[in-house]
Symmetry: C2
Subunit: 120 residues, 2 copies
């Protein structure tokens, strides 16, 4: 799935920066204009726009311009795709632990059966 | 939380590459030696080692050397930290949707009350 892989590349890259994660954390609470997003950030507007561009190319943020105001929104489906990849890894890992538990349990019951044999 | 932010930076950066995600996908199924990890990959051993180094600095993978064999394992706590940040964003977003639903519902009941008033 090259497209899916490519979008995971872009999404994780976009999230690998504290300013961009901060923008996502702001946008999950509701849409915001570029100037609202820029206000709390200690950087130039062009720097903020560059971060927004990385977020938009990753699909995590979408924006629309109405008159002179550009409003940004988070794209929850993109967040879910990244979360779902991580969830799948956790599930695979937990499944492996469960299998190890089963193996251990069956060895233990094998041991007690063997001990029973010894005692007999 | 600069340390927490820093580790999220490193983790998301580590996951922004399909080869490194492939290594994580392999390691959640169980530990593997460096040569086992390198076998299916179409790249030089130094390139594989470089990817492993990025994964290790992010805390997602840990490795141990016994004799001439270096064995790699996934660190589930690190995977969980990245998943948990994404989960928190999803939760914040869903909470906002719930609030919007409540506002909409209270407006609707306000409207029907007003319609009732008109009819009276």
């Amino acid at each position: 799935m090259p497209n899916h892989q490519g979008s995971l590349d872009l999404m994780f890259h976009a999230l690998a920066d504290p300013t961009r994660r901060g923008i996502v954390e702001r946008l999950v609470r509701g849409p915001a204009s570029v100037s609202e997003l820029a206000r709390p950030l200690e950087m130039s507007l062009p720097a903020v726009l560059q971060h927004l561009q990385v977020l938009e190319s990753s699909g995590l943020v979408i924006s629309e311009k109405a008159g002179r105001v550009r409003t940004c929104r988070v794209e929850p489906a993109a967040l879910r795709a990244a979360e779902s990849w991580l969830g799948a890894q956790r599930t695979a890992w937990e499944r492996r632990l469960d299998r190890l538990d089963d193996i251990l349990a069956s060895h233990r019951s094998g041991d007690s059966a063997a001990e029973g044999d010894d005692r007999a």
